[in-house]
């Protein structure tokens, strides 16, 4: 490594090869067009090539790769969800994640930390026990733990919350809970998809989708028209904009979710700590920064602006949990746009429009689902039927009133 670094330092031009080809022209026709070059869209392109041999695929991204939800989340991976449909789905994702650095031959800094969901009331502890039971039934490593254990694992935590908040009664502990380098996930999938023949077009916005007799026939972009029979919408924050192009209504509404990082510190926090009552989740990145997220903004907004209100309340709650932090500076804060669904589960799969597929409704739970949503959506596109793991998440569930109420989702009030 030092030798390589030295060579890198003395080199006149960039000695590393590009991650993927830069294709200058859009082709007139593709077998499938994926809207959105985030983790989900790129993973779908990768698995279309790898699992199904479909390589004539374009990924269209209006900005840059991984610049939306993929680069704005707090990079937590876990599967301790509450509904059997959700827990099974996210467990499949965790299993793919565990082997992903090797499969994609790229270091994703996947780091298993152990995930605590703190309970500040007996009622909350009851929900955590319910989650633990569902998780264990599905073979997911998850259990209820009590204050002594939490204190022994995280010596810096103040279980009384300084008396400012209800004290901690226990927690749901999920040892496989992990963090990963989220940008690298997008880049590695992009490289993988490129190797299977998919084209990645950045700075290419979709302006309209052509539908005839209830079926997709093409896509208008700001760089010209493309013929295609299959379109996957894998965007976040703009799904309602895309569904309007094909005349589809959905339950989706967009809310900002804010997060921030502190200056880098020596490693002291090994675990991922979540408190739904205090609207905080925090972990320490491999660079030493504390990465912390909050709850959704209080009202609908299609914007990634961030607010002082958020920075103040978030910092206050962090200090309630970790009284060692008051002198630590916040480096930056940002927001991501979340497609929220009424039941906190995604909307995936076929739609009433033939050839138009949705991978949406990723609210505050999208990053951890990146590998499995790519894999199941690739299956769904290739076979034109919903993969077994995502059948429960089809858009039609709202018409049948068969919602998948996911109380294990992060940073939302239930």
């Amino acid at each position: 490594m030092p030798h390589r670094l030295l060579k890198f330092g003395f080199s006149d031009h960039h000695p590393e090869p590009r991650m993927f080809r830069e294709v200058s022209q859009l082709k007139p026709e593709y077998d499938a067009v994926i809207i959105g070059g985030g983790g989900h869209g790129l993973a779908a392109a990768y698995y279309l090539g790898k699992d199904h041999g479909i390589s004539n695929v374009a990924v269209l991204e209006q900005g840059y790769l991984g610049g939306g939800g993929t680069g704005r989340n707090t990079a937590i991976v876990r599967s301790n969800y509450l509904t059997p449909e959700g827990a099974r789905f996210y467990q499949a994702s965790v299993e793919l994640f565990q082997d992903l650095s090797r499969e994609l031959d790229y270091n994703l800094f996947y780091s298993e930390r152990g995930h605590f969901t703190l309970a500040h009331s007996p009622a909350s502890l009851r929900t955590q026990r319910w989650r633990a039971e569902v998780n264990q039934h599905l073979g997911i490593d998850s259990q209820v733990v009590y204050p002594d254990f939490i204190q022994s694992q995280i010596p810096q935590i103040d279980l009384t919350c300084g008396g400012h908040q209800p004290p901690i009664h226990g927690a749901l502990f999920h040892p496989p809970g992990a963090i990963a380098r989220h940008d690298a996930v997008a880049w590695a999938y992009a490289r993988g998809a490129d190797r299977y023949g998919a084209e990645i077009h950045q700075q290419t916005a979709v302006t309209d989708i052509e539908v005839r007799d209830g079926a997709v026939i093409g896509v208008h972009t700001d760089r010209g028209y493309i013929k295609t029979r299959k379109v996957l919408s894998a965007v976040a924050g703009w799904t309602t904009h895309i569904t309007k192009m094909v005349g589809l209504t959905t339950p989706l509404v967009i809310y900002p979710l804010q997060a921030m990082v502190t200056e880098p510190l020596k490693p002291w926090l090994n675990h991922i700590v979540v408190s739904a009552s205090l609207h905080v989740y925090v972990s320490q990145s491999s660079r030493g920064e504390l990465v912390a997220g909050a709850s959704l903004d209080p009202y609908e907004l299609i914007s990634s602006r961030s607010t002082l209100d958020f920075a103040e309340s978030m910092s206050g709650h962090l200090i309630d949990l970790f009284p060692c932090l008051p002198q630590v500076n916040v480096l930056r804060q940002w927001a991501g746009m979340c497609d929220m669904t009424p039941d906190f589960s995604p909307i995936m799969g076929l739609t009433p429009i033939s050839g138009f597929y949705l991978d949406s409704g990723w609210g505050t739970w999208g990053f951890k689902a990146t590998p499995i949503s790519g894999k199941t959506m690739a299956f769904t596109l290739a076979n034109n039927r919903d993969h077994d793991l995502i059948k429960a998440f089809n858009l039609s569930r709202f018409e049948r009133c068969e919602l998948v109420g996911e109380k294990g989702a992060a940073s939302v009030g239930h």
Binding site: T240, T250, P251, V253, R305, D339
Partner: protein, 88 residues
Amino acid sequence: MKILNCPLNGPRPIQEFHYGGEFHPPLDPAELNDADWGQEVHHRHGEPGVKREWWYHTASGTWFIAERDNLKDHVIQTYLYTPECGND
């Protein structure tokens, strides 16, 4: 600090308000089939644009309607509900 104009109490800080979701005139369930009723209950207008929304002023217990641009976070006007609001 963001300010919202309550039709009864005038301009107040946004922290005093609670967002109540999109305003839409209720349809009669007896006239709809199950699928349409499911859509009526769950589906929303989530796309960018100016929407009519319910807002609640917590301090005075006032529900009212705001016309707001959900892309720019700009409130165009606020007013109290009257039965005429239901006629689009």
